[in-house]
């Protein structure tokens, strides 16, 4: 969609060869999965659960400022780990190979208002299959933002920095809304569709449970610390929402990441699919702790190439993937978190304003965006 296609120098055979080389990397990791990987995810789960329990315990005394601070910080970290390194990755089926029914994509439920069943559909199926395809990938601008110069500008886009900020603060609700495809389904003709209503009820039940836990029962158990615990759980959810929103923005939004038009993926081959994932994702560089807290989505490129590999293996395949980018003269978009967040936000602001008219013949995506 950008003026210059950064993959134009690759022949069809080269793209298929690239696909075979990526398949080989994948096969090696699959063959090497074993005890250490299983021990890793069990350890993360155990640490997360103990941290959450301890933090909630400390928050029972949140009327004392040090307890509030420690408890809130601990609960924020626990919630981030639960959603990112554990929930997201388990729901991808990254750990299904262990055959442990307690750590399995078909049985897992996460600390999130979107029921895992619905999230798996919109994320694993739609986002990962149609990555960065305008009109097909709801993650791209979440259906509320202009994400590419070629999209027609509309005055409503002036507000998109604000929408994006609000979405960041209440990100889990935003996700639940687009897992439900609310934008489309609230239309009069669809509102009464029984299938939609059943899914909406499931979301309602999940929200009720989550709200009861965080904002009623836990504060009530805190007795005189009621209001302080309420503020603490709200803060922890806010921190988790803003953090995961930032990480996810860094995955597909920074400058240098490509978006694609619908027609470009018709009849796409395995190699072309890989290439789209390579060009449509961006990494975050940082320490091991950083990778853990992002659920290894800091290795977004590797994750999009191999969504079902155990997350602890992305760091190991990253140098080999990067070498392929160099071999095929492609840009591996990566940078530290502040830089990538800044880059993504700058794009949000820049595209909120009109730019020069797209070149004649450039496709008009307004219709698809409305449909999204």
């Amino acid at each position: 969609m950008t003026a210059i296609d950064p993959t134009a120098h690759l022949s069809a055979e080269q793209i298929e060869e690239l696909g075979r080389e990526l398949d080989a990397i994948r096969d090696q990791v699959i063959a090497g999965r074993g005890e250490k990987d299983a021990a890793y995810i069990r350890k993360v789960i155990s640490v997360q659960r103990k941290l959450e329990l301890a933090s909630r315990g400390v928050l029972l005394f949140s009327i004392f400022p040090p307890a509030w601070l420690i408890g809130t910080a601990g609960l924020s970290v626990a919630k981030i780990l639960e959603n990112m390194e554990i929930g997201h990755n388990v729901l991808h089926g990254q750990w299904d190979w262990m055959r442990d029914p307690k750590i399995h994509s078909t049985t897992w439920e996460w600390d999130h208002v979107s029921p895992s069943e619905q999230w798996k559909h919109s994320h694993n199926e739609l986002h990962h299959t149609y990555t960065n395809v305008i009109g097909k990938d709801n993650d791209l601008g979440y259906g509320i933002m202009r994400v590419d110069e070629d999209q027609r500008w509309h005055p409503i886009h002036l507000g998109q920095p604000l929408w994006n900020f609000v979405n960041a603060c209440f990100f889990e609700y935003g996700i639940a809304a687009y897992d439900l495809e609310l934008g489309r389904n609230l239309h009069k003709s669809r509102r009464k569709d029984p299938e939609f209503r059943a899914r909406a009820r499931a979301v309602g039940r999940k929200i009720r449970k989550q709200v009861l836990k965080d904002y009623v029962i836990h504060p009530l158990l805190s007795g005189p610390s009621f209001l302080h615990t309420l503020a603490a759980t709200f803060t922890a959810n806010l921190v988790r929402n803003i953090w995961s929103h930032s990480v996810i923005m860094c995955g597909h939004f920074p400058e240098g990441v490509q978006v694609f038009e619908r027609r470009s993926i018709e009849g796409e081959t395995r190699g072309q699919w890989y290439l789209r994932q390579m060009m449509g994702s961006a990494n975050i560089s940082g320490s091991r702790a950083m990778h853990l807290m992002t659920g290894n989505l800091s290795h977004q490129i590797e994750h999009h190439l191999f969504p079902d590999l155990p997350s602890n293996r992305y760091a190991e395949v990253a140098p080999r993937v990067r070498a392929l980018f160099e071999k095929y003269e492609l840009e591996y978009v990566t940078g530290p978190l502040p830089k990538q967040v800044f880059s993504a936000w700058r794009k949000v602001f820049r595209l909120s304003l009109p730019n020069k008219k797209p070149k004649a013949g450039a496709p008009n995506h307004e219709k698809e965006l409305v449909a999204a």
Partner: protein, 351 residues
């Protein structure tokens, strides 16, 4: 309010706090063997028996109901990070004081679980357990005359019964390649020395396979004995024929662990047992396509092995991963991605 009702209310409240998890998910972290937990056991010791067999001492969880001598237990062991389930005979007596149970495992060639348990299992490891099962057991009233006809690891359920004791007249005919391959040999010889057992060892490396008709000479009163036989299919088939031929089939009890061996082939007949459809499939077509073409309602998603939207239980048979060639065999709890799996021989998909 009764205490039971109070407890159930308290539990409901706990569930509201731990949602989306369950209270047990947290309790499992500190007390995996407690009452009410999924049944587990902790390996406490591994004692080598022969060069390729070992006895595993397991402390079962509080929910363990106890076994009857001769029964087996299904055990779920994580091997290379993958949970695999196998059944092993319990070799400890039912009245063991410390409440531990033992299984005795012989490592078979290419046996993933047996080799792991014999050679790599470490004390402290948690395993999943099922309640003991099986009707290859001693009746409550001990028969006056008993014969055990066993071979290889087939001695394990017999040992479980022998250790329970209370016999007047027991004879054992046991086959093993060489003397040092006889599991529990010194304990058996101790029983012989105490006059509690008559034992005939058949060393098949030197004596050849046991011809069941030799029992006439080894145990002349065999037909009067309540007999328990456990070993390879060949031995059991021959025994059944022999006992039937003499009209005393009801005196023979047999135990077979592997009723059928899966032979992974290329393609095969696919049964969709929930819908009752059966179709032939080649070894290249994803089972998802096979099912859809047969009109079975198959869940599906990305159709390329990514989203795990299509996972389905494999009830029987084997499938091949079209990406890696890896074979997956049916076991309880095994789910396969139908979009990237093809039939590797006859198989049964639960749709």
């Amino acid at each position: 309010m009764t205490s039971a009702a109070l407890r159930s209310r308290a539990w409901k409240l706990l569930e509201m706090i731990t949602t989306p998890l369950l209270p047990s998910d947290y309790l499992d972290l500190v007390s995996p063997l407690r009452a009410g937990a999924d049944l587990r056991g902790r390996i406490e010791a591994v004692h080598p028996e022969t060069g390729d067999a070992a006895t595993i001492v397991i402390r079962p969880g509080r929910g363990w109901r106890g076994h009857t001598a001769g029964q087996y237990v299904r055990i779920g062991v994580d091997v290379d990070g993958r949970r695999l389930w196998r059944a092993y005979s319990i070799t400890s007596p039912t009245h063991r004081q410390d409440g531990r149970v033992t299984i005795t495992v012989k490592a078979i060639p290419d046996g993933k679980v047996s080799n792991h348990l014999v050679r790599r299992a470490k004390p402290g490891t948690l395993v999943r357990l099922d309640q003991p099962a099986g009707d290859f057991v001693l009746p409550k009233a001990r028969p006056p005359k008993v014969l055990y006809l066993t071979a290889g690891s087939g001695i394990t359920p017999a040992m479980g019964m022998l250790r329970d004791g209370g016999f007047d007249d027991v004879v054992m005919v046991h086959c093993a390649p060489q003397p040092q391959d006889v599991i529990f040999r010194s304990e058996l010889h101790g029983l012989v020395a105490d006059g509690k057992l008559r034992l005939t060892e058949v060393h098949t490396d030197t004596d050849g396979m046991l011809d069941v008709s030799r029992l006439d000479e080894l145990v002349p009163d065999w037909a009067e004995r309540e007999t328990w036989a456990c070993g390879p299919a060949g031995l059991l088939d021959a025994a059944e024929e022999f006992w039937s031929g003499h009209g005393v089939r009801e005196r023979l009890h047999t135990e077979r662990f592997r009723p059928s061996v899966v032979v992974a082939g290329d393609g095969g007949v696919v049964t969709f047992s929930a819908t009752g459809k059966t179709v032939g499939a080649d070894g290249a077509m994803p089972l998802l396509d096979v099912g859809e073409e047969a009109g079975v309602l198959m869940p599906s998603g990305c159709r390329m092995g990514i989203c795990f939207g299509c996972v389905t239980p494999l009830k029987a048979g084997a499938v091949r991963d079209l990406r890696t060639g890896e074979i997956t065999e049916a076991e309880p709890g095994v789910l396969i991605q139908t979009c990237v799996s093809a039939a590797a021989g006859p198989c049964d998909i639960e749709r």
